[in-house]
């Protein structure tokens, strides 16, 4: 592999021709066989991320992939190619298959020469329509593997080729031949029966399933685009003392730029002049804006909520914290474990068994002295009946109904393939800010000095704070308004940057803010207020002091409040057998307080955004199957890494794009419903697969005995399909707890 002396490069290749997760594993193995190459292949995004050493060139990589039977190219996103003409194949196949199935199953429609019309209609379906399955099956054969494609290709080709044989060399081509509508079993040489409806019907059904599935594939790139969109587009750089607005790409390390109130910080840097509050929630998850002054570090993409700042750029482009987070999300999505489709896992065993059965049937009848024609009929019948038409519907119908029901309950399932792959989730990691808590500051307590009136304190403090846009001030104003109603007017309002506000209300000079602001007039905070303030801060809350006429009158406690439904949600999550873990960038005291309030015992606090991924990975390496619920940009990579990522709909676009499920209402109780729904959907898929196979497997002994007829084959097809669709529709009855 690579050494320190070897330089490496990294590219992303778009892989074509993959039909299942095992294809992705195969391409990955093939690439990793090359010296100095480390590759991860994502089936969902159809991309390979390849790190390669100097000695390897791109042509070698592409050739290696093509040698495995797939195509590779530098990615140029073309949505139409993604479906491999699937929609056209589906529409044409369905239109042609309907009359074929109808004629075969309804004897009055069997006019003279109907069988030849059937052949004309079924031929394009089996050849062109089912081409993706044949191609994939051939690729699988070359690798000695069997998937659902193998089964479909084998079944449809067996039915079609047999029908050709019967039509041209048997008696099925005789004008006026009909399929009687009866389910009696009788042994025949089979040369009078055609199975074109099986070939065309199975193809159309499986194509429909594939089409729904391909539509549901996640758009991995969207999370990255949303993340990068968060950065500032241009920046006001100070050049020769003048402000020049330039595109962000032209900013160089060491240059100074201006950040006005409400603007985003253009890139990572150090404050050179000014002081302000910066909303760092994107990066740290911390809900309280952080006061910054000269010498403090600021992060690109965060929002300046206070005064004017001049910042010296320390990192630009790919080195910034935002770009590094984008990289983390990308790595998490590309490196996500590939899980084989359940249908493919079943097929991998089922196909070899069916072939063995067919060979056994042929040999048995030959051994028993039957005619070679009869023996061959029975063997082919085994292949024909073994391909369950409903196999293609088993997963997509359950996913469609499950996602539809989810949408009604406010659960948007974005990567439904995850439902199929999610084994039993046993741990749920909850981000604190915005997930368990509202993510918004609110007034939680008012402690007044002896002799002061709470309403009066709120009336005056609220009036002064009304002039400020600071989130803490907004919380005080909301709290005051809800307690005392309309607030009186203020004169002489002044904001003291980073400290507090001052103004005159009803002839009194009122100050609200840090104790230091107050202490200009009154050096001592009364002991009761001092302890109240210390107590609030110990619990991780923010305390602001209110005073007028040179005396401290009250301490207002502001905090990010726990959502009213969070505690109930935690109880539900526990009842599902999940262990909730609270994860936050906040300090331990705040985290413990919130955890205690909602009933969580396991807390992981003071975690940087990059470390959130590590926490999820560590839990996974301990053998846990992890669901992560988050809302912030800082959660995006962890959401993508988790086995099941759930984003709050009230959160950032980045988190929503990186997750598998979005809880539209931002109510944590929906997380419990989402997990129940995903479990129920998975159970439905398994049930569907069982019954899809069961009807056909039940008919295999008849086929092996040489007793299959087209009506029985059609009945097995119809029964299993109806069952699978009905079973999936039962998911509509799923009831949410929330």
């Amino acid at each position: 592999m690579t050494t320190n002396l070897t330089r490496t490069a990294e590219i992303e290749l778009a892989i074509g021709g993959m039909t299942c997760a095992s294809c992705a594993n195969r391409v990955e193995r093939k690439l990793n066989k090359l010296d100095g190459v480390t590759a991860t292949v994502n089936y969902a995004t159809e991309k390979a991320n390849v790190v390669y050493a100097d000695g390897v060139d791109r042509a070698t990589l592409i050739a290696q992939i093509e040698a495995a039977g797939y195509t590779a190219a530098l990615p140029e996103v073309d949505e139409s190619v993604e479906h491999d003409g699937l929609r056209e194949r589906l529409v044409v196949s369905v239109l042609l298959a309907i009359p074929v199935v109808a004629m075969a199953m309804i004897p009055p429609l069997q006019f003279t020469y109907w069988q030849w019309v059937s052949l004309a209609l079924a031929t394009p379906v089996v050849t062109w329509g089912a081409w993706p399955f044949h191609r994939a099956a051939w690729m699988n054969v070359r690798h000695g593997a069997a998937t659902m494609d193998t089964l479909v290709s084998m079944g449809t080709l067996a039915a079609f080729l047999w029908s050709l044989y019967a039509l041209f060399l048997g008696s099925a081509g005789t004008p006026g031949m009909t399929h009687p509508f009866e389910f009696t079993v009788a042994r025949s040489d089979g040369l009078g029966a055609i199975y074109l409806e099986v070939a065309a019907g199975v193809t159309a059904f499986i194509l429909a399933g594939r089409y729904f599935e391909s539509r549901a594939k996640r758009r991995a790139g969207a999370a990255l685009r949303a993340l990068l969109d968060l950065g500032a587009k241009d920046v006001a750089v100070l050049r020769d003392g003048a402000e020049v607005r330039v595109p962000i790409g032209q900013l160089a390390v060491g240059e100074r730029f201006v950040v006005r109130p409400g603007e985003k910080v253009a890139t990572d840097g150090v404050v050179a002049e000014g002081s302000s509050a910066v909303d760092l929630s994107m990066v740290t998850g911390e809900s309280v804006p952080v006061e910054v002054a000269a010498g403090d570090k600021v992060v690109g993409g965060t929002v300046n909520v206070g005064g004017r700042l001049v910042v010296a750029a320390t990192r630009v482009g790919a080195q910034t914290q935002l770009a590094r987070m984008a990289k983390l999300v990308e790595q998490a999505q590309t490196g996500k474990a590939q899980v084989q489709r359940l249908a493919d896992r079943v097929s991998a065993v089922f196909v070899p068994v069916v072939i063995a059965l067919a060979v056994g049937t042929l040999a048995f009848w030959l051994g028993a002295g039957a005619s070679s024609s009869m023996a061959f009929t029975a063997a082919v019948a085994v292949l024909i009946i073994a391909c369950p038409c409903a196999l293609g519907l088993a997963t997509p119908t359950a996913l469609l109904v499950g996602t539809g029901r989810g949408a009604q309950l406010g659960i948007m399932i974005k990567g439904p393939e995850v439902l199929e792959s999610t084994r039993l989730v046993d741990t749920v990691v909850l981000d604190k800010t915005g997930t368990v808590t509202t993510g918004q500051m609110s007034l939680v307590d008012v402690r007044v000095a002896d002799g002061e009136d709470v309403a009066e304190v709120l009336r005056l403090a609220g009036a002064v704070e009304d002039g400020s846009e600071h989130p803490i001030a907004r919380a005080v104003v909301r709290g005051a308004r809800s307690a005392v109603g309309e607030l009186p007017p203020v004169t002489g309002f002044a904001a003291v940057e980073g400290i507090g506000v001052r103004g005159t209300v009803d002839g009194r000079v009122v100050v609200v803010g840090r104790t230091s602001l107050l202490e200009q007039g009154s050096p001592h905070l009364p002991s009761d207020l001092f302890f109240a303030k210390a107590d609030a801060e110990r619990r991780g809350h923010t305390a602001v002091t209110v005073g007028w006429d040179g005396r401290a009158r009250a301490v207002l406690v502001v905090a990010d409040t726990v959502k009213p439904t969070s505690a109930e949600a935690v109880v539900w999550l526990r009842s599902l057998g999940l262990t909730p873990v609270l994860l936050t960038g906040d300090n331990e005291a705040v985290a413990r307080a919130v955890a205690a309030e909602v009933g969580i015992t396991e807390v992981i606090a003071e975690v940087l955004p990059e470390q959130k991924v590590e926490v999820v990975t560590r839990l996974q390496s301990e053998g846990k199957v992890v669901a992560m619920v988050g809302d912030g940009v800082n959660d995006a990579a962890a959401l993508a890494t988790a086995d099941l990522g759930l984003a709050m709909g009230t959160g950032t676009d980045v988190a929503i794009e990186a997750s598998d499920l979005t809880l539209v209402r931002g109510d944590l109780r929906a997380a419990a419903d989402a997990i129940r729904l995903s479990r129920r959907t998975l159970r439905t898929i398994k049930g569907n697969l069982f019954w899809a196979f069961a009807y056909n497997v039940a008919a295999v002994p008849l086929a092996a005995a040489g007793l299959l007829n087209p009506m029985l084959a059609g009945a097995a097809m119809a029964c299993s399909s109806v069952f699978v669709v009905t079973n999936s529709l039962r998911l509509r009855g799923f009831r949410g707890l929330a």
Binding site: T112, R142, H143, G144, S171, A172, T174, P175, G176, M177, T178, H179, P180, T184, V185, A186, R187, S188, D189, G190, L191, G192, A193, P352, I355, A356, V359, G360, T361, L362, A363, F364, W365, L366, G367, A368, G369, A370, S371, M374, G706, L707, N709, P710
Partner: protein
């Protein structure tokens, strides 16, 4: 296990299955095949010739 040896092993299994089935068929046969299973159906009971 390489692809070739996997396919080879499966081939061996198929041959064994075929041999076993053939032997079983020889032991329990011969059957009157093709033979009518219903009362009125002819050899090719899966379909009916035109009038």
């Amino acid at each position: 296990m390489s692809t070739a040896s996997r396919i080879g092993a499966y081939g061996v299994v198929l041959v064994l299955v075929a041999a076993g089935a053939f032997a079983l068929g020889s032991a329990v046969g011969p059957f009157d095949a093709p033979a009518p299973a219903g009362e009125t159906h002819q050899v090719d009971a899966g379909h009916v010739e035109s009038k």
